[in-house]
């Protein structure tokens, strides 16, 4: 994509990544201030994957996310105030504050939800793709999952059916090297991991998940194939989570050097440099954008913090659909 990258596109990608990074910083602060009551898993460092992927999708395309899902929600177009509200358990949140960080659903943007079960959302995306195919809508679904899911049985079952029925689904593995405190390579046999997709004759590839343009390109091809009836793709993006598994984790299991190496590949800095080099934006313009975004996000956080908690009468709503 680099060659044909235009100003508008680049700004959109940049803006989304910075928004996520800024959002997550606010979430971290909220957690430290005791406002985010449960577990929060930050997406910082992985922005290129979510943003590069969702930039390819239409609003009515589906995504199914996971426990580290704030970035996906933002990239797919959810409202950041309502996201904050949900994460701190307030009534205007996407689930009336009853879901929290790991259970954010947004039908408006085709978001089938962040998810607390590792691997749990993979069949949801695959099933949405099945439905899209049956109903002939032309929609595509993206299944986001972490490297930990590479060892969950339901992934393989889903891959098989997706391939068998040529479903319009893109499997996007965000390999950040760790599942909680365990290195993924220590608990995962078979190299490269793309063979897990290839076993089902699904076109598979491993890409730099720190480069939003690489992600955009890879996902574009996969989505095009999916939309044209060519079936699923299995994409692994190597990336890194800057934060601990959840806020509070001190990451004693990581070494400093590793962290530095990855930070040197920061997806936001990388795009920024390229934009300046290609004269799509000046350093000053980017800095201004950063500030604008920061203002917007901080303001949204402030608004969210003033929002009310759900009331006792919200407890029992929506247990059953009418």
């Amino acid at each position: 994509m680099t060659a044909k990258l235009n100003k508008a596109q680049s700004i959109e990608l940049y803006r989304d990544m910075v928004t996520i990074r800024t959002f997550e910083e606010e979430v971290r602060k909220m957690f430290s201030a005791g406002l985010a009551p449960g577990l929060v898993h930050l997406y910082s460092g992985q922005e290129a994957v979510g943003v590069g992927t969702c930039a390819v999708l239409n609003k009515d395309d589906y995504i199914a996310s996971h426990h580290r899902g704030h970035g996906h929600c933002i990239a797919k177009g959810s409202d950041i105030t309502r996201l904050f509200a949900e994460i701190i358990g307030r009534r205007p949140g996407y689930s009336l504050g009853r879901g929290g960080s790991m259970h954010i659903h947004d039908p408006e943007t085709g978001n089938l939800g962040t998810n607390g079960i590792v691997g749990g959302s993979v069949p949801l995306a695959t099933g949405a793709a099945l439905s899209a195919k049956l109903r002939g809508t032309g929609q595509v679904a993206v299944s986001f999952f972490g490297d930990g899911v590479l060892n969950q049985g339901i992934l393989f079952e889903s891959l098989n059916m997706a391939a068998l029925w040529s479903l319009p689904v893109v499997f996007v593995c965000e390999n950040n090297g760790y599942g909680e405190f365990t290195e993924i390579d220590d608990v995962t046999a078979g190299r490269p991991y793309t063979k897990r997709g290839e076993a089902f004759d699904i076109p598979a590839g491993k890409f730099d998940g720190m480069d939003v343009l690489v992600v955009f390109d890879a996902v574009s091809k996969a989505v095009e194939r999916a939309r044209n009836g060519g079936g699923p793709s299995f994409l692994i993006f190597d990336t890194y989570r800057y934060s601990g598994h959840s806020v509070g984790d001190k990451q004693e299991y990581k070494d400093e050097k590793e962290r530095q190496l990855w930070e040197a590949r920061d997806p936001i800095q990388k795009l920024a440099k390229l934009m300046v080099k290609m004269r799509l934006a000046s350093k000053n313009e980017l800095k201004k954008m950063d500030e604008e975004i920061n203002t917007t996000v901080v303001a949204a956080a402030k608004v969210a913090k003033k929002m009310p908690a759900p009331g006792a009468d919200d407890l029992a709503r929506h247990v059953y659909a009418p």
Binding site: S95, H103, L112, G127, S131, R135, R317
Partner: protein
């Protein structure tokens, strides 16, 4: 074409429970093209018990989908499809294999509507065969309905007869929630008159299958027939007037009908085909004990399968199913020495 649907004339619609559910599927698939059937061998083969026969020929491979043996993901895909606007009917061949779909059923399907604050519905029907009989052994004879009824967000339907099965199945397909529809295989071939066409039985209403005034037997699914047979004997041999209430659905549970029956009779036996301990009989007996205490003339009794894996050998297997004699004996004890 579902078997017999054209050939049976209205006045002679004496059909089996299996045929009744098939007819319901056929009708619902006809009126709503979003209804699809998904499962192992449900398509070209027409189901291992011929319970889906003819659907594949009528609706084609896009709407009657043969799957690999991947229960977890079959069900998971169905949840995703339901969230996206389809209305899948998923067949899990044996209720014992529900153990393989519990994560997607309990952690996803049952909670999505709540977690999305009503943003998404999960309109699906999970159909599965349960019950003891035919020497299928310990891994093909379980009835895990008490698990399902324990989970908020799920509905649980267990018909005892053909007409109920059809009306309840149609209601289940039109319901916007995940509904588990459990059929005891031993009721598959029970016949009765089933009215043609549109007759929907709302979920959550028990049915008084026999009126009586001295004791109520609560049962569901196959056990209803045991209860009815026992009621007959109780009347003839012991002059006890027994009411039989078919719960039909466990969730929602029709507490109103339960309470009003025991208010009248003052005695209750709860009968079930699942294991007794920590099964459904406890909940219903406890509910009665709590709500009808002052009107009770005897302790609320329970009878269900013993807490033993279901054995294969017919001589032992039959000991696992509460019998008519056991019911009669149990009810008799509630009348003390007086009978």
């Amino acid at each position: 074409m579902p078997p017999d649907s054209n050939t049976i004339i209205q006045s002679d619609r004496n059909i089996t429970l299996k045929a009744a559910v098939l007819e319901a599927m056929f009708e619902e698939m006809e009126v709503d093209e979003n209804v699809v059937l998904i499962g192992e061998d449900v398509g070209a083969a027409g189901g291992v018990f011929k319970q889906t026969e003819g659907l594949f020929e009528t609706f084609g491979a896009d709407r009657v989908i043969d799957t690999p043996i991947s229960e977890s993901a079959i069900f998971g895909l169905s949840v995703g499809a339901a969230m996206a606007g389809s209305r899948p009917i998923i067949e899990v061949m044996f209720g014992d294999f529900l153990t393989l779909v519990m994560d997607q059923l309990v952690n996803q399907a049952a909670k999505v509507h709540y977690m999305s604050a009503g943003g998404f519905n999960v309109p699906l029907v999970l159909r599965t065969g349960i019950g003891i009989g035919g020497s299928l052994g310990p891994q093909h004879s379980q009835s895990l309905h008490s698990w399902l009824a324990h989970i908020p967000g799920l509905k649980v339907v267990m018909p005892s007869s053909a007409a109920d099965a059809k009306g309840l199945f149609k209601a289940a397909v039109r319901d916007n929630n995940p509904v588990v529809f459990m059929e005891d295989r031993m009721t598959y071939n029970l016949k009765e008159h089933v009215p043609a066409g549109e007759k929907i039985i709302p979920l959550g209403l028990a049915a008084v299958k026999r009126k009586g005034v001295e004791v109520t037997i609560f049962a569901i699914s196959r056990a209803v027939h045991t209860a009815l047979a026992a009621a007959e004997i109780l009347l003839e041999e012991k002059n006890i007037s027994t009411e039989v209430v078919d719960l039909r659905t466990l969730a929602p549970l029709d507490i109103k009908t339960i309470v009003s029956s025991v208010n009248k009779t003052g005695r209750a036996l709860v009968l079930d085909g699942g294991h007794q301990s920590f099964g459904i009989t406890g909940e219903i007996a406890a509910t009665i004990g709590e709500l009808v205490f002052d009107y009770l003339d005897a302790p609320v009794m329970r009878l269900a399968a013993p807490d033993i894996p279901v054995p294969y050998s017919p001589s032992l297997e039959s000991l696992m199913v509460p019998s008519v004699d056991q019911v009669v004996a149990k009810v008799a004890t509630m009348f003390g020495g007086s009978v």
